[in-house]
């Protein structure tokens, strides 16, 4: 009986490999002083042409960051594929600061991308790499090239070869259907990992990028699941009486913080050990305590609570065994849905301002607070693994779309899906093993 049930669930809910709606990414605000860079079309040592224009993908990644202005290929005076063939004066006259040249070789079971980053004014190579790629997915290699170039020139690791997960809702009213979608950070390579006729919520990545935790109402109650991306196998990790929500993996991936009903009508933060199943109650307050996220130390949890009368962010040592959290946010009457930068220094929040609901960021050490976005219904902020951008959901007309902002608010992008209502983006961690 149990086996049968499981099989039926699998049939209904996990249809990996099915493409969802297409995403296009546009920079809506970039830097006025974006740096001119030329990504010369890469050479190819193989039969025919490669499936992916690697240079074009690198250029698109860098352009999307808002910090670079790729030079048009059609205006290039030369198209060398190795540094030795570059004539720097050809780039100086075009006002290009940096040039990337590269070459792709076919090797058994994959490719090798060799590339070099050149400083035009000094006339010298800044960096040269050989990136081996197993399998067919050349696009992934292109994102790795963009990551390396971005890091060399900005000092911050790139986040182009990471992924995002989000909830896509299509249809109206009773006919609304929900999908949990995983895509590359540029919106390509989309995969629906779960479909349901009932709401899906709060997807969040495990630190190794192999699993997603989320909330599903498929059984007419809120339950928390953990699903392995590679196999599609999933496990129900919480279905207690009442609310089961807001999952968040600990930095070691072994524990899950969640929001559970301690008793009817009292939501608290709990931590579940995923191996032993042991449950620890963290907060003990009749207020709504929810949306816990872990600090990198693995001890501190940041969470939303309205114990002060309105939702604000608090922090607590999850093992302290008392309910004496420290209040963290004091700006305005509504701060919720915390997200931490990977170094634990910046706290992104959903903040209510005069304009509406926006994304704000608090520097925890300096105590400076900035509102980064200008929509009316912005929500669900999630930090990029390089700490430089925050992805969030916003509304355009009457539907949800995704957007991203740099942590200083100077660069903004919009990720538009062709159809449906897009919600709750979650940016994957940097180191991904399970692709």
């Amino acid at each position: 009986m149990r086996v049968l049930k499981f099989l039926v669930l699998l049939a209904i809910f996990s249809l990996p490999g099915v493409a969802a709606a297409e995403i296009t990414v546009q920079v809506t605000r970039g830097l006025g002083d974006a740096q001119p860079i030329a990504i010369v079309p890469f050479g190819f040592e193989g039969q025919g042409r490669p499936a992916v224009d690697v240079a074009a993908v690198v250029a698109a990644d860098l352009e999307r960051s808002g910090r670079f202005k790729p030079f048009p290929v059609s205006d290039m005076l030369e198209k060398p594929v190795r540094a030795a063939d570059v004539k720097y004066q050809n780039w100086r006259v075009l006002g290009v600061d940096y040039v990337v040249v590269g070459n792709i070789q076919v090797q058994d079971g994959g490719y090798v991308i060799q590339f070099q980053l050149l400083d035009v004014y000094r006339g010298q190579q800044l960096m040269g790499y050989s990136v081996p790629i197993r399998g067919e997915y050349l696009r992934r290699g292109a994102h790795q090239v963009a990551d390396l170039v971005y890091e060399e020139l900005t000092g911050v690791p790139g986040a182009f070869s990471t992924r995002i997960a989000f909830v896509l809702a299509t249809g109206k009213g009773e006919d609304t259907r929900y999908q949990l979608v995983v895509a590359d950070a540029d919106g390509e390579n989309q995969r629906t990992i779960l479909r349901s006729a009932r709401p899906l919520m709060s997807p969040t990545w495990s630190p190794d990028g192999r699993r997603l935790a989320y909330v599903s109402f498929e059984n007419q109650v809120a339950e928390v699941f953990v699903q392995e991306l590679a196999s599609g196998q999933r496990q129900k990790v919480s279905s207690r009486e009442g609310v089961n929500g807001a999952p968040s993996f600990s930095p070691d991936g072994r524990k899950l913080a969640m929001t559970l009903s301690s008793e009817a009508g009292n939501l608290d933060i709990w931590v579940k050990d995923l191996e032993s199943g042991e449950l620890t109650r963290v907060t003990r307050h009749p207020a709504i305590d929810t949306e816990a996220v872990w600090a990198p130390d693995g001890r501190t949890l940041f969470f939303t609570s309205d114990r002060g009368g309105a939702p604000q962010i608090y922090r607590i040592d999850w093992q302290a065994g008392n309910d004496r959290p420290e209040r963290v946010t004091f700006e305005g009457n509504y701060n919720a849905r915390p997200t931490l930068s990977p170094d634990g220094k910046l706290l992104g929040v959903l903040h209510q301002s005069n304009r509406g609901f926006n994304i704000g960021v608090l520097d925890l050490a300096r105590r400076t607070f900035n509102v980064l976005t200008e929509g009316r219904q912005d929500e669900s902020p999630s930090f990029a693994p390089n700490g430089a951008m925050i992805i969030y959901a916003t509304s355009e007309g009457n539907r949800g779309v995704l957007a991203a902002t740099s942590v200083d608010g100077r660069v903004q992008q919009r990720l538009a899906v062709q159809e449906g209502d897009v919600r709750e983006p979650s940016w994957s961690p940097a180191q991904e093993a399970g692709r």
Partner: protein, 174 residues
């Protein structure tokens, strides 16, 4: 002390329950089935109103049981006075029919954080549950679920839409 106060309010509203105004609501999928079996007409029951099936009562706009949505103010979970009559009618019905079960679905409007709104929806569903329990409905008859802002009754934005979405729906189960 506060309990006595509530009792007083409930008692006065009990009288008004019969003539409370009712908005017509779409019957939710789950309650379209006839739920109970208490359609028995008493032979020659002249002078006594016929006992209607639950289904008929739920669909009769003149019956207070046809009103199965309770609305709330922004960021509030206390039940507005004008909603108490509706709950009172349901409480009496559930007490008289202890084998009838309901599910209370708590909802929030779209503003703010989704998981926090799950908390608000839960708080609203629990507020309705407490009133029903207080009036003698058995805990076994009631389950609750919060959908937060995930299942709006009305699509769109603006104060009127939001007001219609901050609600608890009373769903009669088979």
């Amino acid at each position: 002390m506060s309990r006595i106060k509530v009792l007083g309010v409930l008692a006065s509203l009990l009288l008004a329950a019969g003539c409370a105004s009712t908005d017509t609501q779409e019957v939710p999928e789950d309650s379209r089935e006839t739920v109970g079996t208490e359609t028995g007409r008493e032979a020659g029951g002249v002078g006594q109103p016929e006992r209607m099936s639950i289904d008929e009562r739920l669909q009769d706009p003149a019956d207070p049981l046809s009103q199965r949505v309770v609305y709330f103010e922004f960021d509030r979970s206390d039940i507005p006075r004008e909603e108490l009559a509706t709950l009172d009618a349901h409480a009496r019905f559930l007490v008289e029919n202890p084998n009838v079960r309901i599910r209370l679905e708590g909802h929030a409007d779209e503003r703010g954080s989704r998981e926090y709104n799950i908390g608000l929806g839960d708080r609203r569903a629990q507020a309705v549950r407490r009133i029903l329990l207080f009036q003698g409905v058995s805990a076994d008859q009631i389950t609750t679920v919060s959908y937060g802002e995930e299942r709006p009754a009305v699509q769109g934005q603006g104060p009127e839409v939001w007001a219609k979405n901050r609600r608890v729906e009373i769903i009669y189960l088979r």
